[in-house]
């Protein structure tokens, strides 16, 4: 996968309030893990191993430690002449200047950044999970299925299913329903917070979503559209 084809956006702006005092002065992705790492190292390392060398890290809450940690990206081989890692806090422009209202809004505010690199696909990631994953395989899958959006799912123990965003699918793979933290989950396939979008399509939706005052501006809630499954559109689950 050529890096120009793909760009990653890591949503690292959340507070991670359930970590109590650990995130009092640092954002969750900057919290130490595993003896010498920080949580965001896993996502960043996944990116470079997957051949994605253009990465935007969207920060907002307590970004100082995270910004300093990421720097120019040298530890992850991301200090490059073409591509590289960019820390993207909310900014002031001639027309506007506002905080990120939600995850989708954060991407929306950085449309220009993404357009600069003009990728075909954008991989949206959260910066707060521990896992090793080759995103290029997911992008290949996305291409094969001619999808506009692909979401990564993982089986979780049934007793924990109500903590996650759950996808319910038919035996043939069609997704029938999406429910956010359902009290009585119908399936145990949880959303991992890893998404691949065809950029042109995502851009269109971000722009129209922004105009919708009723929108929650949040990725999980919107782009796994509750609305959407009605037409039973083509959805594939690869096991």
């Amino acid at each position: 996968m050529k890096s120009a084809e793909c760009l990653a956006m890591i949503l690292a702006g959340g507070q991670g309030s359930r970590l109590g005092v650990l995130t009092k002065t640092v954002a969750k992705p900057a919290v130490p893990f595993g003896g010498k790492y920080r949580i965001i190292d896993f996502t960043l390392s996944n990116c470079i191993h997957s051949g994605i060398y253009t990465v935007g890290v969207l920060t907002q809450y307590q970004p100082l430690e995270l910004n300093t940690y990421i720097g120019s990206g040298h530890p992850w081989d991301l200090n490059r002449n073409s591509g590289g890692v960019y820390v993207l806090p909310p900014y002031q422009s001639a027309e506007k200047g506002e905080w990120y209202k939600g995850t989708a809004n954060a991407i929306y505010q950085n449309i220009e950044f993404v357009d600069k690199f003009n990728p075909k696909y954008v991989v949206i990631l959260s910066g707060d999970h521990i896992y090793k994953m080759d995103y290029s395989k997911m992008v290949e899958y996305h291409k094969e299925k001619n999808a506009d959006a692909t979401i990564a799912v993982i089986e979780v123990p049934w007793e924990e299913a109500s903590r996650f965003g759950i996808m319910t699918a038919n035996p043939d793979g069609k997704i029938v329903e999406f429910a956010e933290k359902p009290k009585e989950p119908k399936s145990n396939l949880a959303s991992m917070g890893v998404y691949v979008f065809t950029w042109d399509v995502l851009k269109k939706y971000l722009q129209s979503d922004e105009k919708d005052p009723a929108s929650s501006n949040d990725f999980g809630k919107k782009y796994y559209p509750n609305n959407a499954w009605q037409r039973g559109e083509y959805v594939c689950v690869r096991i």
Partner: protein, 182 residues
């Protein structure tokens, strides 16, 4: 999006994936590394995890120190006993101190004869001489916290726990405790 006929796919992932959004899940995920064999293998030559490396010398284990089933990294100085725990860079465990089932973040100092059980110790925290963290016999109500579940205690970054202080389980200390030298 789907409603308009867009093509949406789900890609099933099979492998270790942990959301470390709570103190308990953070602690558990760290402990996963200590299992033999590890539930999550950091030492994967095909998939190295890169990070900003601290500039510190190799860690030093003193005479009389005991280590059992732990992970230790550069800059640490271990004079006490550590068991089933993870020490991040530059951590000091002084003589007579005991650290069990715990995670100690960078730069923290566990002073002489302190006892840490099932805890997460924040960056640059100092646990005073003879202090006990995660003491089952201590009344936890003073620092009880909804953030700390599963018997785990959490000491925030930079916090100094006074000599001899006792902190119970499921407790979170987010600001300085009483008097005492550090």
């Amino acid at each position: 999006m789907l409603g308009n006929g867009e093509n949406m796919c789900a890609y099933a992932f099979d492998g270790y994936w942990k959301d470390v959004g709570t103190v308990q899940s953070l602690w558990e995920a760290n402990m996963d590394i200590l299992q033999e064999p590890p539930a999550f293998e950091l030492n994967d030559s095909d998939w190295k995890i890169y990070s900003r490396n601290p500039v510190k010398p190799p860690h030093y284990i003193a005479k009389g120190a005991k280590i059992n089933n732990c992970c230790v990294t550069e800059g640490c100085n271990v004079y006490g006993d550590i068991k089933h725990s993870i020490l991040f860079e530059g951590v000091t465990v002084e003589k007579g101190a005991v650290v069990e089932d715990s995670i100690v973040f960078p730069g923290a100092v566990i002073k002489e004869n302190a006892v840490i059980k099932k805890a997460v110790i924040g960056e640059e925290a100092v646990i005073g001489k003879g202090a006990i963290i995660g003491d089952e016999n201590t009344d936890s109500s003073q620092y009880a916290s909804p953030y700390c579940t599963g018997g785990i205690s959490l000491i925030g970054g930079g916090i100094i726990i006074a000599d001899g202080e006792k902190i119970g389980i499921n407790s979170m200390v987010a600001s300085e405790t009483g008097k005492g030298e550090n």
